[in-house]
Structure formats: C-alpha cells, structure tokens
C-alpha cells in the first residue's frame, strides 16, 4: 500500500499549480457579467490545458484526455485548494452529456454538448412522476407523434427536478407505446422548456427551502419537441436512461466532503462545550469508524480504478454507507444542539447569502440527511442492489415477474 501519487503526478501537480497561480483568482473589482466572462474564459483556458472536460471530445469543446484517475484527482485537489471553478456541474454534465456521447446522434451532440459545457444550457431531469418513484419504469407522461410525424406531443407531469427554475432544457422519459411491456414502451426525449405547453412550479421542502434553487414539478400540456431530439430508438428510452443513472451514482459520494462534515461535528461539540463528555467522545469516535471506513474504501475504489481492477461489491455500498453515516451524524448533532435547535437557521435550506449562523445551522444537515435516503436511489433500493447485485440473492418476486 502506498498513498502517495508518485513523482510523475507530483510533477503534474506543479504544472497545475503554476497554471492556477497565473490564471486565478480574478481581480477584486470584477462583478456581474464581467466576472461571469472571466470565469468562462478561465474554464476555456483550463480546458485547453487538459484540466477540464477531460472525457469530452475536442470537437464538442472538451479536452479529450486519456483516462488517468490520478491526474484527475490531482486536478481536483489543486482546483479546490485554489478555490477555482471546475466544470459546470449539474445534470447536464453528469447525465445529458454522457448520454449523448454514448447514445445521441451527431446532430444532437453538435447542438447540445458545447452549450452545456459552457453553461448556456441547464438541464432538468424528467424522470420521477407523482406515480413513478422507485418504480421509475411505470412513467405515464404520454408522448404521441404529431400528424405529420415530425414532432412528439407531450402530456403529463414530472416531479423532483433539481435546478428546475433555472433549467432551459429537460431530458425525460415518456411513454410512447402504451401497449408495449412496461420497460419497452418508453422513449427518451430532449425538450426545450421555453414554450407555452410547459408550466413549472417550485416545491416547498421540509427545510422551508423554496424559490429559485429548489426542486420543481413540471406540467406538460401539449408541449412539443422535434423527433430529431429523441435519443436512441423509439421505445428504448428505459435502456438509454440506464447509462445516465450510473453517472449520477458515481457523482454522489465524496469522501472529502464527509470528512469535512465530521470535522465540523467535532467543532460543534467544542462550540457547545460537550467535547469533554465521555458519551460524546465515544459517539464521535464510533461515527468516525464509519467515516474512515468510507474514506479508505474510496481510496480502495480509486486505486482499483487506476489499476483497472474490479473493487467488487464495495462500490455498490458507498451511497448507502454515506447516507447511514449522515443519519448518525444528524442524531448526534441533534443532541449537541440542545436549545439551539429552537432557532430556525437563517436562509434555512437555501443557498445565497445567509449571514452569520450559529450552531442552529446544523438543522440544515439534520433535515438534509433525510434527503440522502431518497435522492439518487432510495436507501431501500440501495439495500436491494447490495443484496441482489452484490451478494447474489434472488430478485424480488414482484419485480422479476415484470421482466
């Protein structure tokens, strides 16, 4: 075992640092559009260096670098250290772009990939419906061909779309063959959200979060999209969507984030003068056993990826592990908070400027940890995945009967 990255990687780190030193940060007086343009230009130059959009072909605006997880890790570390912006995040980069690269037409790639990379197009996910959660393949939003066969006409409802208020476009699963077996009647469509047939409404969450940054539900009333914006074959949308969910699973996780959150929990215990309490120390270290297991397992998965080896079932466990640790941290935070919990944190759940916040800010984590049990595959679905794909247990009867 050796946790150093090796000489070649450290030399590369030097290059990345030198680049960042001369290109970031912007001068203090930059504001608004000027700042936005600076960041756009910074990303363009970083891409030219091969630091960003490494998996994206050059002809679509990426840097098209050979797979090298160590270099990618060094870049992440150095950009984080410099607090420099990395790739435009969100569903567009995580889901739309990989799907188009794998399953899209040349025209679709030309049309969408570069605009997504540059942040001009923001993508909402149109998967869940009020009646289709874990059983995603039961979507009912309907797609019908126009009389001239050039457009899909869409009617129905989608829900739990993150960045819904900003989204310019959506990728969605739509039932186009009502008589086909459940998984074979779905088509994967891209749609421009700026049209009269689309209505969006923010969902107010238990955190109180609402407004511009929250989840939305979408209503489609004879909304339209060209047939040329259909990804993959008609009726094959379920299988097209399978590639993208993998990408989402890989982008949750984040051992560093968990480590930072645990460090903050220790800080909280100090702040409320409970750090000397043996019960608190025991509970903290008990949680830390799991935090470190998660961290070192992420090293293990990373190391296997670098060597092209299969890490085995542990990679199926990382999301549930993260979620479970989040619950344990929430429970301890609740104990430590005491009467601070009586105060609603400023800007509860929201982003933007929240001003100074005391220990009550942990209410965000306490409620947010529940979101982790739901988003990106619920915890019970994760347990099924571990049991069935990881341990080889037989599939649930009701589910196997459908296939």
């Amino acid at each position: 075992m050796d946790l150093s990255y090796g000489e070649a990687a450290e030399a590369f780190r030097g290059e990345v640092r030198a680049f960042l030193a001369s290109h970031w940060p912007p001068t203090n007086e930059l504001r608004g559009t000027e700042l936005k343009n600076f960041i756009r230009e910074f990303r363009r130059q970083a891409t030219e260096q091969g630091y960003l959009y490494r998996a994206i072909p050059k002809r679509y605006g990426g840097s098209e670098q050979p797979v090298d997880v160590i270099r990618a890790q060094v870049i992440r570390e150095e950009f984080q250290r410099a607090r420099a912006p990395m790739e435009v995040g969100g569903n567009g980069m995580n889901m739309t772009v990989p799907t188009l690269l794998e399953k899209g037409t040349e025209e679709q790639r030309e049309l969408f990939v570069r605009k997504t990379l540059e942040g001009d197009y923001i993508w909402g996910q149109g998967y869940s419906e009020p009646g289709a959660g874990s059983d995603l393949a039961s979507v009912r939003t309907k797609g019908e061909l126009s009389a001239d066969g050039t457009k899909w006409i869409i009617n129905g409802q989608k829900i739990w779309t993150s960045q819904g208020m900003q989204a310019t476009h959506m990728f969605m699963l739509v039932r186009t063959e009502p008589d086909a077996p459940k998984h074979d009647g779905i088509t994967y469509l891209l749609i421009d959200l700026d049209q009269s047939g689309v209505t969006r409404r923010p969902i107010r969450q238990m955190t109180g979060e609402e407004g511009d940054h929250t989840f939305c539900e979408f209503f489609f009333d004879n909304a339209e999209t060209p047939v040329a914006w259909q990804v993959g074959d008609r009726g094959q949308g379920w299988y097209v969507s399978r590639t993208t969910l993998k990408h989402e699973r890989a982008s949750i996780g984040g051992a560093d984030g968990l480590g930072r959150q645990f460090a903050k929990l220790v800080e909280l215990a100090k702040e409320v003068n409970r750090i000397d309490d043996p019960l608190v120390r025991d509970k903290l270290t008990q949680i830390e056993g799991f935090v470190l297991s998660h961290r070192y397992s992420s090293y293990r998965i990373f190391s296997c990826a670098a060597a092209g080896d299969d890490p085995g079932p542990v990679s199926l466990m990382m999301k549930l592990l993260l979620t479970e640790i989040g619950h344990e941290m929430a429970l301890l935070a609740q104990e430590l908070l005491g009467e601070h919990a009586f105060v609603e944190p400023a800007g509860a759940g929201g982003r933007g400027n929240r001003g100074p916040r005391g220990p009550e800010k942990w209410m965000d984590q306490i409620m947010g940890s529940l979101g982790n049990s739901i988003a990106g595959g619920t915890s019970n679905i994760q347990r099924n995945i571990i049991g069935e794909r990881g341990l080889g247990l037989p599939r649930d009867l009701a589910i196997s009967a459908e296939r």
Binding site: S4, A9, L292, V314, N384, G387, G390, D396, L397
Partner: protein, 330 residues
Amino acid sequence: MHFHLTEEQAAIQEAVRGTLADHWSLERLHVFADGDADFDRGSWEALMALGLGGVLAPDSGTGLLEAALVCEVAGEVAAPGPLVGQLLAVAAIAHRDGRDADLLEALTSGTKTVSLVHGGSSYALCARSVDQFLVVDRARGVRLVGAADATIEPVRASDRSRPASRVEIATDAGYSLFAADHPMTARLADAALVLVAADALGGAQKVTDMSVAYAKEREQFGQPIGRFQGLKHQLAHMALDVEPARALVWYAAYAWDADLPDAARAAAMAKAHLCDIYVRATRAAVAAHGGIGYTWEYGLHYWFRRAAFNRAWLGSPAEHRARAAELAGW
C-alpha cells in the same frame, strides 16, 4: 498510489486459506472443541511451513499488512493457535540489538511457540501449550517470559477455537525486551490491535458469507428465503458493516508499516470498529439462520464466541475509542 491488495498479497492470503481451511473443517473444529487441548500441533506446523512466521521480521519484505492478511484467514476459519503472539514475538526479538539468532529462528519456524499476554490481562490463549509468553504492557514495557515462570490455571474457556487459561506472571519474570518508553513497546501494542481487528474482519466476513449462502438455499413459503426483502436487507446491512471496514484494517496496517503519525490512532480505531462489527455480525448471522443457527452442530457459535473474546481482548471498543479521542487531541 496503490490501496488494494497486490497479486502477491492476494496469493499469500490464498495460500494461508488453502492450508487452514484444509485443517479446520467444521468437523475438525467440533473434535478440537470437544477435546481438552488448547493447541493443535499439526495445523500449526502446516501453517508455519508456509514460512509466514517471520512475516513481521524487518528484513522479510513483508509487514503488518501481510500479517493482518494471515490473521484475517485465521479468523475466517476460526483456527486455533497463538498466532498474534507468535508473529509479534518475531517482530520484538528481531528489533532487539544483539538479537538471539537461535531464538529468532525457533520463533520464525514456529518450533517455539509464544502467546501474547496483554498488560493488565489475566488470560492468555493456548497458555497450557506454548513455550513462552510475550507480555506487552504500555505502562511497563515488553517482556519475554518462559512458560515455567508463569502460573497457569486452566479454565472452562468460552472461546472454543482458541481456549484461554488464566495466567499469572510476576512483573519481573523472564527478561525485558523493551522498556515502557521504548518506541517498540507502543508499536507492538498497536500491532496487536490491528491483528485482532484483522481476525475480527475474517470472522465477520465468514458469518456474513454463511448467512448469504444459507439464504440462497433454505426455502420457506416455496421460496429461497433470501428473496424476502426483510432478510435481504438484513444481509445487505451485514455486508455494509463488513466490506467497507476492510479498508480500515488495511489502512491501520499500512500506517503501522509506514510509521505514519496517525498509526497508533488508526490501530485503536480499527480494533474498536472491527470488534464491534464482529459481535454485531455474529448476532445477525444467528438471527438470519433461524433455528439451525442456534444449534451447536451448525457451528456459528464458534465465531460468536470468538467475537466475544476479541471484543474484550486487549481492551474493549469503548476503551480504544476513549484513547482515539485523546490521540485526536479533542
């Protein structure tokens, strides 16, 4: 950057697994457990014939990680024998100035056997059969004590795969290898924690595997019971406890080998975490099996008992968590 087993490390583990699994079928374990012996010379010699007795010798090219891989397999098959004491004794003797080459050779080849006595404990494994005791006491240092200088009182041992005896050793018995303030004293104490954590890892994985295999084969209501979500989720949680914790053991061993600043803390964390998980896994395994798991004949109790022993041996999880909190400077 490398943080998973090399082919060579995997091969070492496979070799140990082949040898120990050969010797410790469930039938053999039953015979051993129903007998009077606290040691089995045949399986010990077979294990030592693999040449792994010196895995912790400074010039071996191997280290605590490989030692942990060996102990993990011993935990997996619930193998008898004073493995932890033996491996640490080689490290202790080999690190001494003016070391005794004959003794080192006898320890490395396993012809002389050594059991670990944790400072403050009144028990040692295989005490009626070993030649020597390695007393590792953070407060008093490390001593090597001949069996003749110890008072050994057999007890009805709860861990039937590694029967312990009550052992009394005078503080000045035998001879001193390292004083309390010598760095090797703390390092040997830390290494012991990692090796017990590795034994726990092997055992916890074993009972998880047994439970999964049983859930695929046992039928109720016309179905393999592993199809039922209630049990499936329990088994998923057993695996979720065990598999990520493997990397915690690896890290603790690696940190010790590389002498990293957090090595002592990593050892404490690994011991506490894995011993907790082992107890939880063996409880869950009995529950997952139902009635058959509660029988003597099926054998789950060997790991259940070993988990109970490991948990208390060298200090409980709570004790090591308190140390870890201290070591973090909280």
